[in-house]
């Protein structure tokens, strides 16, 4: 069908890149922000602006909190679709408790899970709680951790939590997964379609026409960070491989169950409840024992995760995992204790070669370890990826501006408007949620939607308005000119970014002088990044104004085109 592999590669790169490119910009950009998700959380929840804390005492602090957790509303809504009768009004006897923390978390995330009673397919309901580990005080449920609970899931599932497969709540996962596959395809085909990749890598013609310099920037950001882009698209897919290819939950389910039975015999960790109630022994000595064993192996460390399976049952066991602060893998070195007695059931053996390799790949993507320069390098790589895809979209429009200027193609207008929506519109949406977060009162009047939901509405409303604006102003594109929405939205971004910094100051008293002075970098970093964004946006707006003025000059010398404007 195509004359050569290069022709096929070019077609695939152009059209799949165009269709999925808009999505990939979003995935790369919010992935870049997710590198500092915990820090954005601090900015958004001023009461959590204190230094990271270690895992607190289970017996004194965590246990009473765990015992008070009830399922969340969303989880109950889902359970209702799986159960014919009414759901319990009070949920006792949870099956699972878990707490997870990293070296960047001042607050502690806790969760509990229950087997859904009388469900048509086996399922569980979840409840969550965030506490201040210094006092045990609970944070209000309706406070949204904008970084880790919104930008981060947006990065891998677009917050589209609808059931697509029996695995559940994964529609967005599948869409982003397809975009990730297309990213890999676009990288390979992008190299294949250029015969002179090496020479083009050293070519940058910023002074030339827009089309040329956009293409050069596309090639440079694509080739320079090619290993980065490939690695992140690949490992991102690998993290969710079990969702995309549920082989062992479907076709190989019988083999999977056989494996779990053998595993249960080997590890001594019960797969199911015994159905016999049993009390819970003191957990703090188990934590001390785990830490003693890690220290004895020459890898003393903090607790990263603590979980209790089959809570209140004779088969219950406590698992304690070492925080991966100084390791690539998020958590490791699990030690498991019998919940009723505190005896060690099992110490995880050294990892297999394949397991260790996979943990290394996904651990590098998730980056829970401590390495601040690398963390910033990730942001840089992510923003280069965003730039690469965004310039690809702009190049698509620029190239066709010349080809079809006379035929007044509406398609080009649509693509350009979508590019504005995706690029500057995405920044406006981001600023909208931050500004809403600072403008909404701490406690909302009763009857209002949860605070976090309102912030999310502000995000999508900001984005929708940016889209509307981009389409309304897109007229000049049909005439081969710049859409003024690019410039106007750059100004909006700049004003909003500065406003967010000022609002943070007014509502919390945390000026940059104070946050930098006391060395509280999570909040100082967000403020500084906002100011850097504003500066870049002003610079871009001025550059665009000069470009538009230049195009106008040309227009004056071409009366035919001017007539077309009036039509």
């Amino acid at each position: 069908m195509f004359q050569s592999f290069r022709h096929a590669a070019t077609w695939v790169h152009t059209w799949f890149g165009l269709v999925l490119g808009f999505l990939l910009v979003v995935v790369f950009f919010f992935g870049s922000l997710s590198v500092f998700d915990r820090e954005i959380d601090r900015w958004a929840i001023p009461a959590s602006r204190f230094t990271p804390q270690p895992m607190p005492s289970f017996d004194k602090m965590l246990r009473p909190v765990f015992e008070s957790i009830q399922p969340g509303k969303e989880s109950l809504d889902k359970a209702r679709t799986l159960v014919d009768g009414p759901l319990p009004t009070h949920w006792d006897h949870p099956d699972f408790w878990g707490a997870f923390t990293t070296h960047r978390d001042p607050v502690l995330d806790m969760s509990a899970a229950w087997d859904t009673p009388n469900a048509r397919v086996p399922d569980s309901v979840m409840g969550r709680r965030t506490i201040d580990p210094r006092s045990g005080k609970t944070f209000p449920d309706d406070q949204l951790k904008i970084g880790s609970e919104f930008f981060y899931p947006l990065h891998y599932n677009l917050t589209l939590n609808y059931d697509l497969t029996p695995n559940g709540r994964d529609l967005g996962n599948w869409i982003v997964g397809f975009a990730g596959l297309v990213m890999l395809v676009a990288l390979i085909s992008g190299v294949a379609m250029h015969r002179k990749v090496f020479r083009e890598f050293f070519t940058f013609r910023p002074g030339k026409n827009t089309q040329r310099s956009v293409l050069d920037l596309h090639n440079m950001t694509g080739v320079l960070a090619l290993p980065f882009h490939f690695f992140f698209a690949f490992t991102g897919l690998l993290i969710f491989a079990g969702t995309y290819f549920p082989v062992t939950d479907t076709q190989l389910e019988p083999l999977h169950e056989l494996h779990e039975k053998i595993e249960e015999q080997e590890t001594g960790l019960p797969h199911d409840r015994a159905g016999v109630a049993a009390p819970l022994a003191s957990v703090d000595p188990m934590v001390a024992e785990a830490q003693r064993r890690w220290a004895a192996k020459g890898m003393a460390g903090e607790v990263g995760a603590l979980s209790l399976n089959h809570v209140g049952d004779a088969n219950g066991y406590v698992s304690i995992y070492r925080a991966g602060t100084d390791r690539i893998a998020s958590v490791s070195e699990g030690i498991h204790f019998k919940a009723s007695t505190g005896h060690v059931l099992r110490e995880d053996p050294p990892q297999t070669a394949v397991g260790g390799f996979a943990d290394f790949l996904t651990g590098l993507h998730l980056q829970h370890f401590r390495h601040w320069p690398l963390r910033w390098f990730y942001v840089l790589g992510g923003l280069m990826g965003t730039t690469c895809i965004a310039t690809g979209l702009i190049f698509f429009v620029e190239k066709r501006k010349k080809q079809h200027a006379k035929t007044s193609s509406q398609g080009r207008r649509v693509v350009d408007s979508l590019a504005v929506t995706t690029i500057t519109g995405m920044l406006i949406a981001t600023m909208s949620i931050l500004i809403a977060n600072r403008l909404l009162p701490e406690a909302l009047p009763s009857g209002w939607p949860p605070r976090g939901s309102l912030e999310i509405y502000a995000f999508w409303t900001g984005w929708a308005l940016a889209m509307l604006h981009a389409f309304v102003r897109s007229g000049p594109v049909a005439l081969g000119k710049l859409n003024p929405a690019w410039r106007e939205q750059c100004w909006v971004v700049a004003v909003m970014a500065v406003s967010a910094v000022l609002l943070n100051w007014i509502t919390t008293g945390d000026t940059l002088l104070r946050t930098i002075g006391t060395g509280y970098w999570p909040v100082a970093g967000v403020d500084l990044s906002l100011l850097a964004t504003a500066t870049a946006a002003v610079f871009a707006a001025q550059k665009l104004r000069r470009k538009e003025a230049g195009a106008m000059e040309q227009g004056r010398s071409q009366p035919v085109v001017r007539e077309a404007v009036n039509v």
Binding site: F2, A9, L184, F234, A241, F245, V247, T248, H259, A358
Partner: protein, 101 residues
């Protein structure tokens, strides 16, 4: 260079290539993962290690298969390899599973 090739491209042929790239590639990768998970099990490998190894291979194979679906001369031969290969590998995995369980 694009316009020259465009004349040979019917929407139906293009749709066939797109379907083959997405679904054929998926079928082939499913087979790779199933065969790796089931095939390494009797060799004493940890079950999830086999699955993970299969996933790593599959995710490297998928983009290559995707591009090949467009570049291949014959749509039918490419379909036979991707879909047929996927079905064969998945069937082999089920056969191994039947012997073990």
């Amino acid at each position: 260079m694009q316009t020259g090739a465009a004349t040979h491209r019917s929407p139906v042929a293009l749709a066939g290539r797109i379907l083959l790239a997405v679904l054929g590639g998926y079928a082939f990768c499913w087979g790779v993962i199933a065969l790796c998970a089931a095939g390494t099990f009797p060799l004493g490998a940890e079950f999830h290690d086999g699955e993970t190894l299969g996933s790593i291979l599959a995710l490297l194979v998928y983009p290559a298969a995707f591009l090949w679906a467009f570049a291949a001369r014959s749509l039918w031969r490419a379909s036979a390899v991707l879909v047929g290969g996927g079905v064969l590998m998945a069937a082999a995995a089920s056969l191994i599973q039947m012997c073990l369980t």
